[in-house]
């Protein structure tokens, strides 16, 4: 996950990334579906501008294709979860670090999966999720993140902020990939532990003015939509 302070740091290091640098107020009251993450940006991996990151990026694309193993290009990059476990990541992070790390957070998984899908020629968008868990679950995560001295701003009460990908499977239909879990999110929309409370898909509006279809729902783009 991208921390506001880290993001400011990252944009001075690597202004070419061109990612928005607006400040994020973590204290915003949870009145909108996005809660305190109402204007939170997708995580973005930085580039050292050197061979180290070029090699890492090339490796990632070629490795993803090799792992497809002749399967359908719409197969989720399930290998990522085997390559790097889900856990705390200190931001900013660069391609050479992100691709080599044993433990990364969902922001890294989502950013890597995005590169992989696009390189396969599959239209894909970044997606942000808010998920319901329990006080016990979020307390346990808070502890793990604190141990690594990584900010736990992605936790808010029983809810968490999480990142993934929206993969276009028809003219305007998407499937939602949770790379950290290694599964497609069930569009049936159950409530309860681990369920999806809200989603935001970041995409160019062109052609998708009515949003994208996910299961029975239509998701307006670039805004939090309660599920």
């Amino acid at each position: 996950m991208y921390l506001a302070e880290d993001k400011a740091k990252a944009s001075t290091v690597q202004p070419a990334d061109g990612h928005c640098a607006d400040t994020v107020d973590l204290m915003t009251a949870a009145t909108a579906p996005g809660g305190k993450w109402q204007t939170f940006p997708n995580s973005h991996i930085s580039h050292h501008g050197a061979a180290c990151c070029d090699i890492a990026h090339e490796w990632l694309i070629a490795f993803d294709y090799a792992q497809l193993n002749g399967g359908d290009v719409l197969t989720g990059p399930r290998w990522m979860r085997e390559h790097s476990k889900w856990g705390p990541t200190a931001w900013p992070i660069h391609w050479c670090e992100a691709v080599d790390a044993d433990v990364v957070d969902c922001g890294v998984h989502a950013a890597i999966a995005q590169e992989a899908f696009v390189a396969r020629g599959v239209p894909a968008f970044r997606a942000q999720f808010i998920q319901r868990y329990s006080a016990d679950a979020t307390a346990s995560w808070r502890e793990n993140w604190d141990k690594e001295s990584v900010s736990d701003h992605w936790i808010d009460g029983d809810a968490i902020y999480h990142e993934g990908n929206a993969v276009l499977v028809g003219t305007d239909e998407v499937k939602l990939w949770d790379g950290s879990a290694g599964w497609w999110i069930n569009p049936r929309g159950e409530m309860g532990y681990g369920s999806l409370a809200a989603v935001r898909i970041e995409a160019d509006l062109e052609g998708f003015e009515d949003g994208l279809r996910w299961g029975e729902r239509r998701i307006k783009l670039n805004q939090w939509v309660a599920v």
Binding site: A51, C52, D54, I55, A56, E58, W59, L60, I61, A62, F63, Y65, A66, Q67, L68, N69, G70, G71, D72, V73, L74, T75, C96, V99, D100, V169, N186, R188, E190
Partner: protein, 757 residues
């Protein structure tokens, strides 16, 4: 109301009986439910919702006629019967060919139309059937099917057994086991479909669809059986053809279509079962009580409806009290020194299968081709050049075992490869072949390679020497492999055509040797190891760190030699389709290497490992397409090499042997000892060989089919069985000559001298 329910086995791979009983109890709280079983070891008989038990002796012991009469009496007396077992449903269909109003199971005509693998009744549903092949085809064809489907194949019997057979030796072992268990030689191979498993369950009475639900597996046991799932309505596009299918088959009872949904959303039908599935009560939990609908339709008594509790269900394991009148039988003693007890289905269903074969030999057949099509005869066809080459031999003067050099076969293979290389070459990109000496270092084959424009591909300096002795020039040699410096002191000083480094250490040694003027090559390159393919060769690409090391190493290669990349994947091992994906994947790695190292690739060596038929008969030519892909993706490549070693050598020799003795045992089982052995034919576990007998009277070559004879080698070694399950032609005697074709590849080069005195 009295309802008989069978199929109460409730182990890790349960039958639906207990689920049917639970669902019926919700719909008909006052019904008398009778549990039917064929063993007191089936745990479901202790389920407390059963009002009565009707325990029969196991299927192997049961007097089927008398039992059939008893079932008929029960039905005539008004009892309803829901079968929870495929084989029982089939037997009932044989007892009641025209059905019985109270028998809630499909008629025989319906069952025959859902036979695997074609499932003809489901042909109008929006589902596909994975490709399959009957095992009545020759071993040669079955091996080709496995290669074509990347060895991701299942060997299946007509009922519920299926085993993955990722190698030829597994295939032959499973074929023996399945044939024995299900008393049939008629099995089939089916291509695996990767994806998510889902099912549609239906309930019907006399051709009228009463209800259907869709279920996606959300948790599975190690055998792939449902442990948890979610239930939803069947989409309209599926429901309407399903309704028609039920009408066409005049279906009565439960049914299940087991399917896989692949990455592009296509549904593939794995099988259709003539009964409710074991997860039937999961559907009732979701508000769809299909067994109750069935009883309602048959009895006219309206079932009590219970609202849905959830749309998802899961299983738990429960301990239940054992009924005092059916105390647990003791566990049989394990055989002395043996590990574990038999956990086979206790009611002896496989015994029922054997008995059903006797009632109607066709009842349990797998359905392959439309009626009237000639069944395959299981014999591999012998190419004309094989017949000619064998005909030229003087067998009377021949000491056996003896390798036969198949001269015209070998010549035609090398000529075809030569012609193809020319045909594929253009002004910009030359396509060449390298003969992989290790496959068979016979001088005659090396000479054919030289005469047909091949390069010599060597993995040791000893092999380089063999090539030079036959007449190859050093600049026609490609040196490869991990042992290229062995034996010491033989490295040619003249410029070779290409040298590929198998590791970073090897590369550094080559760079140093070139700098010191100790070796020279027009192309110097690397062999790379693709992720996902288990291999001990080449420089690995499996992490960004190893990839970075490879890039750094490529930058150290001498710039006055052209840069080449070698990769090797045995298409016979990974399969033809996967080969194509790997090739594409390889080109992407090459693009990345070019981009990051600043070196452009001028020579690409695609290695070998082709099965002869895949290489020679592939006229649309994967190789031609491959060349085209190379041109677009790596435009600097000037030469593409491939190394068809096995494809040239394997058909080029056969092994002649004589039968030493024949012993006949019970049940047509024959053991014949031959004077050859696994010392001469060490690949027999891994690939089939086309075999013939030379008739001692007429001299004619008779193909050897499949049967119950085992051909045992002359060695005093337990595993010296060179062919299992063959059928020697009528009249075969001791002293007769057998010829194993396709023995000129690794059979020849890896043969050894054990047992030769």
């Amino acid at each position: 109301m009295k309802i008989y329910v069978s199929g109460l086995y409730a182990g890790g791979n349960p039958q639906p009986g207990v689920g049917i009983v639970r669902s019926l109890r919700q719909g008909y709280p006052d019904a008398t439910i009778v549990g039917v079983e064929y063993s007191n070891r089936v745990s479901g008989i202790h389920f407390d919702e059963l009002d009565e038990l009707w325990i029969q002796r196991p299927w192997g012991e049961l007097d089927l006629d008398a039992y059939g009469d008893k079932v008929c009496e029960a039905l005539d007396a008004g009892g309803l019967w829901i079968s929870g077992s495929d084989l029982e449903a089939m037997w009932l269909a044989s007892v009641f060919p025209d059905g019985h109003p109270n028998l809630l199971a499909p008629p025989m005509s319906g069952i025959k139309r859902i036979t695997k693998p074609v499932v003809e009744a489901a042909s109008s549903l929006p589902i596909k059937i994975p490709t399959y092949l009957s095992t009545e085809h020759s071993d040669w064809d079955l091996h080709a099917f496995c290669r074509e489907h990347n060895w991701r194949v299942w060997l299946k019997g007509p009922y519920y057994d299926a085993s993955r057979t990722p190698t030829w030796d597994t295939f032959t072992a499973v074929r023996n086991a399945l044939s024995k268990v299900w008393s049939t030689e008629k099995l089939f191979l089916q291509a695996h479909v990767s994806g998510y498993e889902e099912s549609v369950m239906l309930s019907a009475y006399r051709g009228e669809l009463l209800g259907a639900v869709s279920m996606r597996k959300r948790d599975i046991t190690p055998e792939g059986k449902t442990w948890a799932g979610d239930v939803s309505e069947v989409p309209l596009a599926f429901m309407e053809p399903l309704r028609q299918m039920v009408r066409d088959t005049n279906w009565t009872g439960g049914g299940e279509l087991e399917m896989v949904r692949d990455g592009s959303d296509q549904l593939w039908l794995i099988e259709m079962n003539p009964r409710f599935p074991a997860w039937v009560h999961g559907s009732t939990i979701a508000g769809h009580n299909l067994p109750a609908l069935l009883v309602q339709a048959a009895s006219g008594v309206v079932a009590k409806t219970v609202p849905a509790e959830a749309s998802e269900f899961t299983r738990i394991v429960l301990e239940v009290p054992v009924r005092p009148d059916y105390p647990l039988p003791p566990l049989p003693e394990p055989f002395a020194g043996a590990v574990g007890h038999s956990m086979k289905h206790p009611s002896g269903l496989t015994a029922l299968a054997a008995r059903l074969h006797k009632i109607d030999p066709d009842m349990l057949d797998v359905a392959m081709a439309p009626d009237g099509t000639e069944p395959p005869n299981g014999l591999a066809e012998l190419p004309d050049t094989f017949v000619a080459d064998i005909g030229r031999q003087d067998f009377d003067a021949m000491q056996t075992p003896q390798y036969i050099y198949m001269e015209s076969t070998a010549e035609s293979l090398f000529k075809r490869a030569d012609d193809r290389a020319h045909r594929l070459s253009t002004n910009d990109v030359e396509v060449i072949s390298g003969y992989s000496i290790k496959t068979n270092p016979d001088k005659r084959l090396i000479k054919l390679a030289l005469d047909h424009g091949f390069y010599a591909e060597a993995i040791s300096l000893g092999e380089v020497q063999s090539a030079l002795e036959v007449g190859f020039r050093p600049d026609q040699v490609i040196l490869n492999g991990p042992g290229k410096w062995w034996p010491e002191g033989l490295m040619p000083r003249e410029t070779m055509h290409a040298v590929f480094c198998d590791s970073i250490a090897d590369l550094d040694r080559v760079v140093a040797a070139v700098a010191a003027g100790e070796m020279s090559a027009k192309h110097i390159g690397i062999r790379i190891r693709t992720p996902n393919i288990t291999s001990r060769f080449g420089i690995p690409l499996d992490s960004p760190t190893t990839f970075a090391k490879l890039i750094a190493a490529v930058k150290r290669l001498p710039t006055d030699s052209a840069f080449g990349v070698h990769f090797h994947m045995a298409s016979s091992h990974v399969g033809v389709a996967q080969w194509w994906h790997l090739f594409e994947s390889m080109l992407r790695w090459c693009q990345s290497i070019e981009k990051l190292s600043g070196r452009t690739i001028e020579m690409l060596d695609m290695g070998g490992g082709w099965y002869p038929d895949d290489w020679h008969e592939d006229q649309i030519s994967k190789i031609a397409r491959a060349v085209e892909r190379v041109r677009t993706m790596l435009p600097a490549v000037r030469q593409i090499a491939s190394e068809p070693g096995k494809a040239m050598a394997q058909p080029s020799m056969a092994l002649a042997m004589r039968i030493l003795e024949i012993q006949e045992h019970e049940d047509d089982y024959v053991e014949a000892v031959v004077d050859a052995s696994i010392a001469e034919i060490p690949m027999h576990f891994w690939q089939p060989h086309r075999m013939v007998r030379k008739c001692s009277e007429t001299g004619e070559l008779q193909p050897i089919g499949r049967g119950k004879t085992h051909l045992m080698g002359r060695l005093c070694m337990e595993h010296d069985i060179i062919a299992s399950n063959v059928q020697l032609p009528e009249g075969t005697r001791a002293g007769d000559l057998l010829i194993f074709c396709d023995a000129g590849g690794y059979d020849r080069s890896m043969s050894y001298v054990f047992g030769r005195g």
